[in-house]
């Protein structure tokens, strides 16, 4: 702590910070461009100039940049100083020489940091009497639009894209007043985090291209606090809609999870909500036809199909909320509720969850602080992209210690990078093929899943002699020792693993490494990726495995399938047989999946944008999401189930989400605390609900006037403390129920700094999410016994392992045009020693079915391994890993 003076006011400040950070944290309005809270200071824009005084006697002072001025004891600055104010206004005047002033046609208008800063500095009239500079814009792919003429050259884009996200195809070009930010040529941006450019850019150079296709101003959108449903990380998001169309997704800051950034799958997944493939009304199969029916009739038919309920089973879904799964479980009975995980997946998930009870599972904020990492058998970027971005920051921790030793503070981004150069910390990756994090890996290990498991066991044994030994090939021994040493000597070691390779021994090995470190007295973290939004939550429900139902040969009367396409969970032959065996098939889903197409009754289910519920992320953090779209004919699964139960006279007291959430909590002790994850629907501020619409929302009294001149009341929302209205207060809203960010004078995403307790700190207004597993069974858990002996590959056979694609493997984003346009075509990747030509069409056999694909040669893949993309649209699901044969066709 240090005592600093700002405009004569005495403050306590964090001496490890700079004066811009301190001033903003204290609530002063000091303009800035190049500084970013997650990326530190570079001193390029000169916008945060303040007057610094040597001591209390100094009245002359000198102009300094607040972002480069450490908050040392007795630092004295003046923001209000006349000369400083004039200089800051002059900076804006300089930016306005070439900025096109096209705010009325700019997608950033109304949420533009440049607009805000211009007002803040008071600059109004520019003395420039020459023509403006112009640039040629580039096509950058389906996510991001490029309009270089608006650029103010703050370098934030390249600093995020290259320095933070580690991709290289966006750069700064040229010099003097024609500096250009773009690619070396037109083309799709390669980073999985490119959408963040729209929020990182202080003006309208990089904007959300999908928003542009149905553009609406920030102030005209209705927002809701939501949780991304695209993977198990649980990033907090803020979708915006108008006229029933979801327009975009903004990052919603949660300092423990996603911080300032989300991945492109998360940001652009919303497009499926608007898809014509959505199921909007109940459908009943009559003969070969499917007929649209009224909601009441659908509930009646559903009730009839349930009959006495004795031969009814329910299949849950890892992409549905806790409440939805719980409602189905309550409807059919716990012993007739099946999880809906893919074949072989449930065992792995239960194993991971039981290990999580015995270790510390770090939040992403903690992941970023780790200084040595082993990623064992996981391709984090494609399965849990936001975690990969956090791991990229972990790779900088060890080098940053050198900067601190050289007395360069960590906020001094240029200074730190000068001291650290391109150095990376001890990050190690073991995976069958190259991953997108390899560039920050000190070393990588390639092997088949069973070899990776052995490798992990060997690392554990090298850390602690009590851990079961393993047989790794001699060539890997040196690497094993290096990794063991790095983890053992690190301050905050971390192991990351997951279920991608469908290998139990890998998960056991990851646990053993952490157990070994704990026995050596080191406090280590263990993070498992979770493939779907509620994998963790459904796993904690301990339902029966889907395979049991699929392969039971029991003649079920009615099968109720909740938000799940079984054809993605098991092979087509098995699912066909299962569905044919069932008397009635009831599918509750959002889109017309292959399973839905086979159903006798289809109930239209609300997407994340239309529903409320609770999800549990990879670290067991329960988080609530709320609807942004007003009620319509589609409704939450749990509400359909409640409707049918009510009709049947069962659990009739559920009137709102709060009732269901409370029932989950009451019935299943593991979920204790989830009701506190967000305020209840009865929550009020000054007697009012929290508004979903900004106070400048326009057209409230006009948009429906062609139908009726009487303004309709806002739609009722019994499930949340939020109103479809502009009336009420957001400023003091609890963090978990904050729909959008706006503060006086701060119209852009940077308004966030007015909602944080301090810069980079938690949001004011309580915790976001409740951790369910606290790792309290720590101590000295038993080691997992050794890995099975490696298998020898049969002649001319390959072990097919699933490879996930951030764009392509996720089910619902198949219906999101921008994302699905980037999905790969089916392929089989092998190394060149397999004897195939790159691009050659082949057929491969698995589970008796033949599939076709093209060969992709990837020389890093080990002999005897074939990488097969998982979950692509219109491809058959394979039971992987499996030994396959590949034939040229």
């Amino acid at each position: 702590m240090a005592t600093v003076y700002i405009d004569g006011n005495r403050h306590d400040a964090d001496a490890k910070q700079n004066m811009l950070h301190v001033s903003l944290s204290l609530g002063y309005d000091l303009p800035f461009f190049c500084w970013h809270p997650a990326m530190g200071s570079i001193g390029a824009c000169r916008q945060c100039a303040v007057k610094q005084f040597k001591d209390e006697k100094d009245t002359k002072g000198r102009l300094v940049m607040a972002c480069l001025t450490p908050a040392l004891e007795d630092t004295r600055i003046s923001i209000a100083d006349q000369e400083a104010q004039e200089f800051r206004a002059a900076i804006i005047e300089g930016l306005m020489l070439h900025h096109p002033h096209d705010c009325p046609v700019c997608d950033e208008g109304g949420e533009c940091h440049l607009q805000d800063m211009t007002y803040l500095t008071g600059h109004a009239y520019r003395r420039y009497r020459f023509q403006k500079r112009t640039y040629r814009n580039q096509f950058l792919g389906p996510f991001v639009n490029h309009e270089m003429n608006r650029c103010i050259q703050c370098y934030r884009c390249v600093r995020f894209y290259r320095g933070y996200a580690g991709e290289h195809d966006l750069n700064s070009f040229s010099i003097h007043h024609t500096v250009y930010f773009g690619r070396h040529e037109d083309g799709i941006l390669e980073s999985e985090f490119s959408g963040n450019l729209a929020e990182v850019c202080p003006t309208g150079v990089f904007t959300d291209r999908t928003l542009g296709q149905h553009y609406t101003r920030k102030w005209d959108q209705t927002y809701a606090p939501s949780i991304c449903h695209s993977c198990g990380v649980g990033c907090n998001i803020s979708p915006g809609q108008r006229d029933g169309i979801v327009r975009r997704i903004l990052n919603r800051y949660n300092h423990e999870v996603n911080g300032y950034f989300i991945c492109d799958r998360g940001r652009f997944s919303y497009e499926y909500v608007n898809s014509p493939e959505r199921i909007r009304a109940p459908l009943v199969r009559r003969g070969d036809e499917r007929e649209v029916i009224e909601k009441d009739e659908a509930v009646k038919i559903f009730a009839e199909m349930l009959g006495s309920g004795e031969d009814v089973i329910g299949i849950g879904s890892p992409r549905a909320s806790l409440e939805a799964n719980f409602a189905l479980r309550a409807l059919v009975g716990a012993d007739r509720f099946f999880s809906g995980f893919s074949t072989g997946e449930q065992r792995l998930i239960e194993l991971m969850l039981s290990i999580m009870q015995t270790v510390h599972v770090p939040s992403l904020r903690e992941v970023e602080a780790c200084d040595a990492v082993l990623i064992l058998g996981e391709d984090v970027t494609n399965v849990a992209a936001r975690m990969a971005l956090a791991l990229r920051q972990s790779a900088r921790r060890e080098p940053q210690k050198k900067a601190l030793a050289a007395r360069v503070p960590l906020w001094d981004d240029l200074g730190v990078r000068q001291v650290t150069g391109d150095a990376i910390g001890p990050v190690f990756i073991a995976f069958p093929c190259a991953t997108r994090l390899d560039d920050v890996a000190e070393a990588t290990y390639r092997g088949r899943p069973d070899q990776i498991a052995q490798f992990g066991y060997a690392v554990a044994a090298a850390i602690h002699s009590g851990a079961p030994p393993a047989n790794t090939d001699a060539s890997a021994q040196a690497l094993v020792k290096r990794i063991a040493e790095a983890l053992r000597t690190a301050e905050r070691p971390l192991v990351v693993s997951g279920a991608t390779l469908r290998n139990e021994a890998i998960i056991g090995a990851a646990a053993n490494i952490v157990y070994a470190l704990e026995r050596e007295g080191r406090s280590a973290g263990l993070a498992f990726t979770m493939p779907e939004a509620n994998t963790c939550g459904l796993g904690l429900m301990r339902a029966r495995a889907l395979e049991e139902a699929l392969e039971s040969r029991v003649q079920y009367g009615t099968v109720v399938i909740l938000e799940n396409d079984l054809y993605r969970r098991a092979t087509a032959a098995i699912v066909d047989e299962f569905l044919a065996r069932a008397g009635n098939v009831v599918v509750l889903d959002q889109v017309n999946t292959r399973t839905a197409a086979r159903a006798n009754l289809v109930l239209p289910v609300a997407s994340f944008a239309e529903s409320a519920g609770t999800l549990v992320n990879f670290e067991s953090r329960a988080q609530r999401f709320f609807p942004v779209l007003p009620p319509s004919d589609v409704q939450e699964s749990w509400r359909w189930i409640t409707d049918v139960a009510t009709r049947r006279g069962e659990f009739g007291s559920w009137n709102s989400l709060d009732d269901v959430t409370a029932a989950v909590e009451q019935e299943m002790p593991i979920f204790r605390g989830i009701t506190a994850a967000a305020p209840p629907s009865s929550y009020r501020i000054a007697g009012e609900k929290i508004p979903r619409q900004p106070h400048r929302y326009s057209g409230r009294t006009a948009t429906l006037v062609n139908i009726s001149i009487h303004e309709p009341p806002p739609p009722d929302d019994p499930d949340s403390p939020l109103a479809y209205s502009m009336e009420g207060y957001t400023y003091k809203a609890p963090a978990s129920a904050l729909p959008f960010l706006w503060a006086p004078g701060w119209n852009s995403a940077r308004a966030l700094l007015k909602f944080q307790e301090e810069i980079n700190g938690p949001l004011r207004g309580g915790p976001v999410g409740i951790r369910l597993i606290r790792g309290d069974r720590r101590g000295a858990p038993e080691f997992f016994s050794g890995a099975p002996e490696p298998v020898n590959a049969p002649e001319r056979r390959w072990l097919a392992v699933p490879i996930y694609h951030l764009f392509g493997s996720d089910e619902l984003t198949h219906w999101a045009p921008a994302i699905s346009s980037l999905a790969p075509q089916p392929y089989v990747a092998v190394n060149e020693r397999a004897g195939f030509r790159d691009g050659a069409p082949v057929a491969f056999q698995s589970d008796g079915a033949t599939q076709t694909a093209v060969i992709k040669i990837r020389s890093e893949i080990p002999d005897g391994v074939a990488a097969v993309p998982a979950g692509l649209r219109e491809t058959e699901t394979l039971r992987l890993p499996a030994w396959i044969s590949i034939e040229a066709i």
Binding site: G43, L97, F130, Q153, I175, H176, A406, L414, V419, G421
Partner: protein, 436 residues
């Protein structure tokens, strides 16, 4: 060809200029070449070399005039990383062409100076970063390096001393900014030529985040004579706080423009009238830029200023790179200001806003002003924009553009006012600015 020698010169660094094959190692060896290296390796310690440098009062010849001995002493003796010697041969300040001659006519003197720096700080690798437009000098330097390797002055176990040193040349791509030492390091690392922040200083984290000594060509070239003849001898050549001689680059409206080696502290009058032979056409002197285009202009009444760092500073300017640009009475000062601003607007690296936007705006304003389209308020605007850069930009390039501009407006305001008649420039005939 080097300029015709003047009898007023004290030739220390330039004493081999004009010798037959002066760039060859044989000529060099025949004229005391590599004697300093031998002395440094066999008779001296790093500390005693440093001591000689400190006694010599040698100050950096790149422009800032920082004491060289002190700079070298900042490099940590123990370092887990390799240490580097980097020679700044990115000579691009308008009016300056002295380093060019040192590389063209006496490359071995430079190599020897770099080697001695390597001995002092315990470095075994060095780079000569040559201005992109000096591409032809690369051939000369590479040939000299080859000769030095062949004769055992570079490479392993130099002169049997056990000291190893490798030296490489590297060209810039034409950016003035890369003459700023930290931008040079970025460029040398293959990155965009933008300046770095300080601290950390290059002595701690320079090239590849390693301790680095970075000096100008002339500074390194001054080292061998100091080692051979002693620091005291060198110091006495100049004035008390400004040791030695300096290569002055005389250009503009003088009868004998050229590069002349003179003791520090030589009066400006002597340089222009005795060494340079006076002003073309015996016209009246109007103004002098004393240290390269970035330094504030002096008026004719500063003609008796001694040319050393401190005296020129006292007169309100800077000795900078020692490039003296002379302007006679027919010169249009507005045009001179414009020409200089054209250069800085083109060379602004684009990193910080005041310089990037300010230089370009100034260039446009001066262009229109000079051609008769100026308004009275433009004079204030020009001064205001320049002051907005002064001391407020990320690196000194903003200062380099601001300082001459402010001086032109303040010292020659009447000439700016003469352009307000709505007519093209009132100076019918512009004198040519030779070399500028």
């Amino acid at each position: 060809m080097p300029s015709q020698p003047s009898e007023h010169e004290v030739r220390v660094l330039s004493r081999r200029f004009g010798l037959p094959n002066s760039a060859s190692i044989d000529t060099y060896l025949a004229n005391d070449g590599y004697r300093a290296l031998e002395k440094a390796l066999k008779e001296m310690t790093p500390d005693s070399i440093l001591e000689e440098l400190k006694v010599s009062n040698l100050r950096g010849r790149g422009g800032a005039g920082f004491p060289t001995g002190m700079k070298w002493s900042f490099v940590p003796r123990q370092s887990p990383k390799p240490k580097y010697i980097v020679c700044n041969a990115d000579e691009s300040e308008p009016g300056t062409c002295k380093d060019r001659l040192l590389m063209e006519y006496d490359p071995h003197q430079l190599i020897e100076g770099i080697l001695i720096a390597g001995i002092v700080v315990g470095s075994h690798q060095g780079y000569i970063y040559v201005r992109g437009e000096y591409r032809y000098l690369i051939d000369i330097l590479d040939r000299a390096l080859e000769e030095a390797y062949a004769r055992g002055y570079l490479g392993k176990n130099i002169l049997g001393s056990g000291f190893d040193f490798d030296l490489y040349t590297h060209t810039g791509a034409g950016a003035y900014e890369c003459g700023e030492e930290s931008a040079l390091l970025e460029s040398l690392e293959g990155k965009r030529g933008i300046p770095r922040i300080r601290p950390p200083f290059p002595a701690v984290a320079g090239l590849y985040a390693s301790p680095t000594v970075l000096n100008n060509v002339e500074t390194f070239s001054s080292v061998p004579p100091i080692i051979v003849n002693g620091g005291k001898w060198y110091a006495e050549l100049g004035t008390p706080r400004n040791g030695g001689t300096r290569l002055f680059v005389l250009s503009g409206h003088v009868k004998r423009p050229g590069v002349y080696e003179l003791p520090m502290g030589t009066p400006l009058r002597k340089l222009i009238y005795d060494v340079g032979g006076g002003i073309i056409g015996d016209k009246k002197l109007k103004a002098v830029i004393p240290g390269g285009s970035s330094t504030p202009v002096l008026t004719a009444d500063a003609i008796d200023t001694p040319l050393d760092f401190d005296s020129v500073a006292k007169a309100g300017s800077m000795l900078g790179s020692g490039a003296v640009i002379v302007m006679h009475e027919d010169t249009c000062i507005v045009r001179a200001a414009l020409r200089i601003m054209q250069f800085y607007a083109h060379e602004s690296c684009g990193w910080c806003i005041p310089c990037r936007e300010g230089t370009n705006w100034l260039k446009k304003t001066l262009t229109r002003f000079h051609s008769g389209g100026g308004r009275e308020e433009d004079i204030g605007l020009i001064e205001d924009l320049a002051k907005n850069m002064l001391g407020r930009t990320f690196c000194p390039l903003g200062d380099a553009a601001a300082m001459p501009t402010i001086a032109f407006v303040q010292k020659f305001r009447n000439e700016f006012e003469m352009h307000l008649a709505g007519q093209p420039c009132p100076f019918e005939k512009h004198g040519q600015l030779v070399g500028a």
